[in-house]
């Protein structure tokens, strides 16, 4: 007994740490970790602290000002009104299309085309949509050519322009994420179901859907959060003083045009809180569904 105890105390601190996974190699994590804590975690906490130190009034004055002014408060609804329908539309199209593309042999051309708008970003898409959807753009001309409409639709500098930009960048994002989830489901599972006589619709609702729900919940959250932070296209393609005055415009305006960084930080915190509420709600709903392996063998 005493020998064992002596041996234990003999072991150096370094060795004991190494047994728990801390040694020289573990320290390599530090440079990157310090950088992210300094540039991401700390600024976020600083923003929270800054938002509670308003220019004048009580500690909650910024939040009170935001929620009591309808012009500011309504930006939350304006943003939700853009982000939720756009996310739902993107996901509703992404799922069936991903199921079809999964069977395609040469996916790379399609996926490469679809990755273009994500890579090029919203500013370029906004510039292109201003031409394309404008009253004399190709979109309206084609619709007039096939006699769907007789006068050009007004699709820029309003809600629909921003919505179009959210679909053009958001759909490929949702689609590629869904595709990676769908491809992760073992085809043997579907074949087993088909062998047992399940029709296409049954295979989808009873086999794929339950396996896909966790992935779809994550895809929904990521797509929604991106759409909720819409900024350049809401200014360039929308009506930034009217129906598309989204919450990020309000935050930017407060922080860098009114030079009230405390109020700007407060609006950024409200923005983060709304995103968090929606994400928690979606992930909470996900817990109601099946969770388990999507691979066929030894599952």
């Amino acid at each position: 007994m005493t020998d064992v105890a002596a041996a234990r105390s003999d072991r150096s601190v370094g060795k004991r740490l190494a047994a728990r996974g801390f040694d020289g190699t573990t320290l390599l994590v530090l440079p990157g970790l310090v950088a992210i804590i300094a540039l991401f975690i700390y600024p976020f906490l600083f923003g929270l602290y800054d938002s509670l130190r308003p220019k004048a009034g009580e500690w909650y004055a910024n939040y009170a000002a935001f929620f009591s002014d309808p012009f500011q408060r309504d930006t939350i609804w304006a943003t939700l009104l853009l982000a939720l329908p756009a996310t739902i539309v993107n996901l509703a199209f992404a799922v069936p299309i991903a199921f079809r593309v999964r069977l395609m042999r040469r996916q790379k051309l399609l996926t490469t085309i679809l990755v273009l708008p994500i890579t090029l970003g919203t500013v370029l898409v906004a510039d292109g949509l201003l031409n394309f959807l404008g009253p004399r753009g190709w979109f309206n001309r084609v619709l007039m050519l096939i006699d769907v409409i007789h006068t050009p639709l007004r699709l820029t500098n309003n809600y629909w322009g921003v919505f179009a930009s959210l679909v053009i960048t958001g759909f490929p994002f949702a689609f590629l994420l869904t595709l990676s989830y769908v491809s992760g489901i073992d085809p043997a599972i579907e074949q087993a179901a088909a062998t047992l006589g399940a029709r296409a619709r049954q295979r989808f609702t009873h086999i794929f859907m339950p396996l896909l729900v966790p992935g779809l919940a994550v895809t929904f959250c990521l797509s929604f959060v991106q759409a909720f932070a819409v900024f350049p296209s809401a200014i360039l393609l929308g009506a930034p003083a009217g129906p598309t005055r989204v919450i990020s415009i309000a935050a930017y305006h407060a922080a860098f045009e009114l030079y009230d960084h405390s109020l700007g930080a407060a609006i950024a915190m409200i923005m983060a809180a709304v995103q968090l509420i929606v994400v928690v709600a979606v992930l909470g709903a996900r817990a109601l569904f099946y969770r388990g392996s999507a691979s066929g063998t030894k599952g």
Binding site: T25, G32, L110, F256
Partner: protein, 278 residues
């Protein structure tokens, strides 16, 4: 592969491909309208412009000082790529090789900047940088761009390093390799494909990163995409073709690197890498 041949599923299949076709057509239309307009002499109310010219490129190059802007853009992107490679690869190595208490928390910390949209954390971050005097400076722009880049490199590199057998390193140690030569002659050659693809994607993302650069950059530290935003924002001041010529310059500088990156990774991975890998 299972295919139903009923009329209903044929119609369904046709509808799906029709929607894909329509989407791609619109997407190509959006991009093509920028390219066509940049070569147009005059384009008002017709299907195609009245005539073709390349003079808008020279016009845009001198009016928007694109030479300077492109130079600054690549200087910033180069610094971001080098720093995020150094920080990201070392961190990823530690996370791939060691299991320690709090590792999940560390991974979560690296995941968050990729999941939270830039504008949400960008406003407090930019405020902070302006307060310590780094606002609108070159290094300020580099620092903000590190926030999404370092975690991106970390998360791309972790599975890459995990697949390298630790026994290779052990064998090198047995034969007397010291840490520098172990890294330089064993690990680096094995990791080069992964590092290269991660860095190319960081380069593409930095060139296209609008929100963070926009919040921090000043007049002399604008990247191409921010300069493009300002010119579209003030459209009417300059000819639309001139702005579109600049947009094409931006597109070309970004897409070159994307095409290179796609030699190493599939497009699905560009998006899907950002999700948790447990």
């Amino acid at each position: 592969m299972i295919r139903d041949q009923g009329i209903g599923s044929r119609l369904w299949r046709f509808a799906i491909w029709a929607i894909v076709g329509l989407f791609v057509l619109n997407l190509v239309g959006v991009i093509a309208s920028v390219i066509v307009d940049s070569f147009a002499t005059r384009w008002l109310g017709t299907w195609l412009p009245a005539g073709w010219t390349v003079s808008w490129y020279a016009d845009a190059w001198s009016q928007f000082q694109l030479g300077d802007v492109v130079q600054v853009t690549f200087e910033i992107a180069f610094c971001v790529v080098v720093i995020s490679a150094l920080l990201g690869v070392t961190t990823a190595y530690a996370l791939a090789r060691r299991d320690f208490a709090g590792k999940r928390l560390v991974i979560l910390i690296f995941l968050l900047p990729l999941l939270v949209p830039p504008l949400t954390y960008g406003i407090p971050l930019a405020t902070l940088l302006y307060q310590i005097g780094l606002g609108s400076t070159f290094w300020g722009v580099v620092l903000v761009n590190l926030v999404p880049s370092v975690p991106f490199v970390v998360l791309v590199m972790i599975p890459f390093i995990e697949q390298i057998d630790p026994r290779i390193e052990a064998a090198a140690r047995v034969f007397g390799a010291r840490t520098p030569s172990l890294f330089g002659r064993i690990l680096l050659p094995l990791l080069i494909p992964g590092i290269l693809s991660a860095l190319l994607l960081v380069l593409v993302r930095t060139l296209a990163m609008f929100e963070l650069t926009f919040l921090v950059s000043g007049p002399s530290t604008q990247t191409l995409v921010v300069a493009l935003y300002y010119s579209v924002f003030a459209s009417g001041v300059r000819a639309a073709q001139s702005i579109d010529a600049m947009a094409v310059v931006y597109m070309v500088t970004t897409l070159i690197w994307l095409v290179l990156a796609l030699q190493f990774v599939s497009p699905t991975q560009i998006v899907a890498r950002a999700r948790p890998q447990n």
